[in-house]
Symmetry: C2
Subunit: 280 residues, 2 copies
């Protein structure tokens, strides 16, 4: 154990040790710890799981403060500097062999280290857009990988917040967090409480709501990105944005040459719109 670390390293030799229950059965359909707590519905535990050195580092730096870690010795070493943060002082780092860890999580986890956090209080749309210049609004994006990619692209291309409209998947699902490279924990997000009513609120705050569409009669994207505050709105591949959402926007914009709703992945289309704004 490295003297710099402020975590409490605890060796786990029995995969059934209840102290590592928060890391158990990560791929289980109904027992996985990252299922959200739904009011009156499925009794998920609502934990957030970070996997791999980079994502664990980002979790430590985020408002999703982990309450425990599980990992192999090699990753403990690699995280030494991060585990010296005062915010995580005294927390348990459960150290196990790769074999014991595989028995706990239910599969061989190549990334070798996990952090787990409870979900902090949800942010509101007001919270996350208050200081934002550029936001992205999603409707019907129900694929965790796409949501993860959108967070990664948002972080890389100067988007300040993500707003979830109707029909989106959980951004704190393990796969979404992993694909986001941990940016789902860092880029502020909130779920719209009124849909599409919250879009009117965005407009009242001075955002130009730009709906991405493949329609040929929409304006070219580059002509729609120059406002002081911009909210890009994207829908799922296939159905695209609902008419209701589209009507609540200000401008319909298209990516030149991208014909048909299946021509670009939704996260790719979003990334292109973010780029069009930073490059303007």
């Amino acid at each position: 154990m490295d003297g710099r670390m402020s975590v409490d390293v605890i060796d786990i030799v029995d995969p059934d040790d209840p102290r590592v229950d928060d890391f158990r059965d990560l791929n289980s359909v109904d027992r996985r710890p990252d299922l959200p707590v739904l009011p009156g519905g499925r009794p998920g535990r609502g934990l957030v799981v970070a996997e791999g050195v980079l994502v664990v580092q980002r979790m430590i730096a985020s408002r999703f403060t982990p309450h425990a870690f599980l990992g192999v010795d090699k990753r403990l070493d690699e995280l030494a500097d991060d585990l010296a943060q005062p915010t995580i002082e005294g927390l348990p780092f459960y150290r196990a062999t790769a074999e014991v860890m595989a028995e706990i999580v239910g599969f061989h986890l190549n990334r070798g280290v996990l952090g787990v956090a409870r979900r902090p209080e949800r942010l509101t749309v007001d919270d996350v857009v208050a200081q934002a210049r550029t936001v992205v609004v999603l409707e019907g994006v129900n694929d965790h990988e796409n949501i993860g990619s959108i967070f990664r692209n948002a972080a890389g291309l100067a988007v300040d917040a993500v707003v979830f409209g109707r029909g989106c998947a959980d951004p704190l699902y393990r796969r979404a967090v992993r694909v986001s490279m941990g940016h789902a924990l860092l880029v502020p997000f909130a779920a719209a409480e009124n849909w599409p009513g919250d879009l009117h609120d965005l407009r009242d705050r001075g955002f130009t709501v730009v709906s991405l569409t493949p329609d040929a009669d929409a304006v070219p994207l580059a002509d729609a990105v120059g406002a002081d505050r911009v909210a890009f709105m994207v829908g799922a591949e296939g159905p695209g944005l609902s008419e209701t959402a589209m009507r609540a926007g200000d401008v319909r914009a298209r990516i030149p040459m991208a014909r048909g709703t299946d021509s670009l992945n939704v996260a790719t289309a979003a990334a292109i719109s973010f780029y069009a704004r930073v490059a303007r």
Copy 2:
């Protein structure tokens, strides 16, 4: 059976029927039919597998003419128009239940239909760039999903050809073809025979070779996309382009705001460069 179809519908009831051997064990590490034939190396069969209605349609429209199909009755119906093409007249469509099909391919295939083709003669770099205005050159992109996405983005954003430099994965691996939405079969591609020598040939042909890099001293992407003929060159996430390849290019360009080699996925970075060119 629909009278329009020109294929020969054959019912398969025994999963061990040798007539469907080309569709067998699709996920097997060493028996899967899409492993390439390597000279003196692993004795792959070099078949190309299309899965799902859309990708099978694109395979039929491509130079990868299928020699057989396997699918459930519902997909046979959905493909009726495509299966009436004269190019595939008389070919077998092996019809099976979902259960028998699962036993053949080794898992439940939700998309319900497969086409299989032999690899046609490889195209050369000269072949694929001769008429091209915009091409993308990949180095070290060894992830099938990224390669598939790059083909999809190329098709959606007016890129005429893909050139594979050193260290890339096989674009005809089943996962790459699926993620490409079949565009790996439609967008012409070739492997460089000399690396980075073929980059000099591209320059001799009048291409401006634009290397994507996160380096702050590179020019903004939008300033590097205006030449008559452009070859975008991208490397794998993490290592990025080799110095050798970078030196053989004309211009080093960066995506504004995208800091660090992990800030954008390689297929996303490529898509942004394609967009920057169509939007110029």
